[in-house]
Amino acid sequence: MSADAATSRINLSAWLQISPLMAVLGLFLVLPIATIVMVSFWGFNEFAFYPDFTFDNYAYLLTANVTYQTYLKTLKYVVLAWVFTAAIGFTVAYFLAFHVRSLTWQIALFLLCTIPFWTSNIIRMISWIPFLGRNGLANNTLISLGLIDRPLEFLLFSDFAVILAFVHLYSLFMVVPIFNTMMRIDRSLIEAARDQGASGYQVLTQVILPLSKPGLMIGSIFVVTLVMGDFITVRFMSGSQSASVGRIIQNEIALLQYPAAAASAVVLLLTVLIMIAVMMRLVDIRKEL
């Protein structure tokens, strides 16, 4: 058999094996995105939307002040959520990878951190009500400690609650990839640094932190994209008082203004893609698995 024939046989069998995946992604990922792009140029009135080729949806979106305010607000959520999840994720992963010494304990504690990921996000949001509510645990504790006289109103249904929920839901997306990267760091590098007289702090900042960067980047991609497109956490935790890019799209959908929603979705997608492209320059995902 010639080399060409062998190569094409490999290609054929690989594409047969990949075909169910491609069918799902083609029908439910590529086609929907193409449809959104197409519909973003359509027109609409109060009753229906119809084929057209108009830039009105984009013109309206890109000239409205509220668009820029909402993007700024959403970016604020992204930055705050990223700072907290990255700091918490790095610290937790560092503890698990370098301070827990037996593999069994590492796995057990790691699983303890991942189990909530497999439970419902909605319920995890609801579960903050008894803590943050007007008569919740946080307010009652602060009052009984004499730190405040009246309940703090900003705890539930506020930006504070939104960020708290993001950190609660998404810290895990940082812990897992950073831990994964840290476990592959060659321990002899740390020994070498110690032998050369590096302090524990120097080892952390000059050896472990740079080598953990790929994991940190993967986690960041997760957190940034999840927060950028979020509509449900912002809606629930702000008590419908705060806006986000995702919520604008959801509102337009609720009003059946599909072409407007599609245009907003295209702009959101482009924004997210640019952010990811910047982050991807810093790391090769496939090497990290």
Binding site: P20, F28, V30, P32, I123, D230, A262
Partner: protein
């Protein structure tokens, strides 16, 4: 090792403990509050203890269609689980060969993972609308959920095959096994514990999926959609009772899967290799 623990160990251990408390504290709180007495509210103090709110859950008119949405989520979750497992394993096998377009397929799968969920919801909804089909949880909902579970399945397969020792396969081939026999009798049994992991992701991610199912499930809600609907109009601890029940269900599923994976790994390490145990 025997070195004494440094001071930083205790600081970090305390931080870790706080993190775990942060993760689990709220859900434990609603677990406790779901046993509120009949006159109890959404926050502490406890106004007596009872199963009142759990019983309330089973009266359909009180809280909507709990059983219906639960059984839909269960069926959908199992379907997604099986499909995710089969499709991921097939795709994982393909990626072991250098085939044309591999990089494209890889990035397409990553796109599926990190694309904002509302785009899937909106796009799939639009397609069905334009074509004139009704969205339904078992068609559009199923497809939308697979765009979320398949990337996890494929990433796990990558991790598995990156660590896979090919000499087992070569040994099987040397003994005259066909391609299919090698996969069926050598590769699949070796990676079986990881397949449990994919199944776990497939089921739980589907069972709890919200954002991609929102516009694609049609007039019959899945459980997360039903629960979210309740948050806007239910102001009694029945919400907590529902949260407690379904979290308990999720936790028992997770424990079963993890238990099975652990048992399989132990079995492998006990029977899998007799290296070093022979008579030299």
């Amino acid at each position: 090792m025997g070195e004494t623990r440094s001071c930083s160990f205790y600081v970090l251990a305390a931080f870790f403990a706080l993190f775990v408390l942060f993760l689990y504290g709220p859900i434990i709180t609603i677990g406790i509050l779901s046993f509120q007495g009949p006159n109890g509210g959404l926050t502490f103090p406890m106004n007596g203890w009872s199963f009142h709110w759990f019983f309330d859950l089973f009266e359909q008119q009180a809280v909507g269609d709990f059983w219906g949405s639960f059984s839909r989520s269960l069926v959908l979750g199992l379907t997604v689980m099986v499909l995710t497992l089969v499709i991921s394993v097939m795709a994982g096998l393909a990626f072991r060969k250098p085939f044309r377009g591999a990089t494209f397929v890889f990035y397409l799968t990553i796109t599926s993972l990190i694309i904002p969920s509302i785009l899937i919801s909106l796009g799939v909804g639009l397609i069905f609308n334009i074509v004139g089909l009704d969205v339904h949880w078992s068609t559009s909902g199923l497809g939308a959920q697979l765009t979320w579970t398949l990337p996890f399945g494929l990433l796990i397969m990558f991790a598995v095959f990156n660590r896979f020792d090919r000499s087992y396969e070569e040994a099987a081939r040397d003994q005259g096994a066909s391609n299919w026999q090698t996969i069926r009798h050598v590769v699949l049994p070796i990676i079986a514990p990881s397949l449990i992991g994919i199944a776990l992701f497939g089921f739980t991610l589907s069972y709890d999926e919200f954002a991609r199912t929102l516009l694609t499930s049609g007039s019959y809600n899945t459980l997360p959609l039903e629960i979210f609907g309740m948050t806007t109009n239910v102001t009694t601890p029945v919400l907590y009772a529902l949260g407690t029940l379904t979290t308990a269900f999720s936790l028992s599923i997770i424990l079963v899967f993890l238990g099975v994976a652990w048992w399989m790994r132990r079995r492998q390490s006990r029977f899998g290799s007799d290296a070093g145990k022979g008579l030299v």
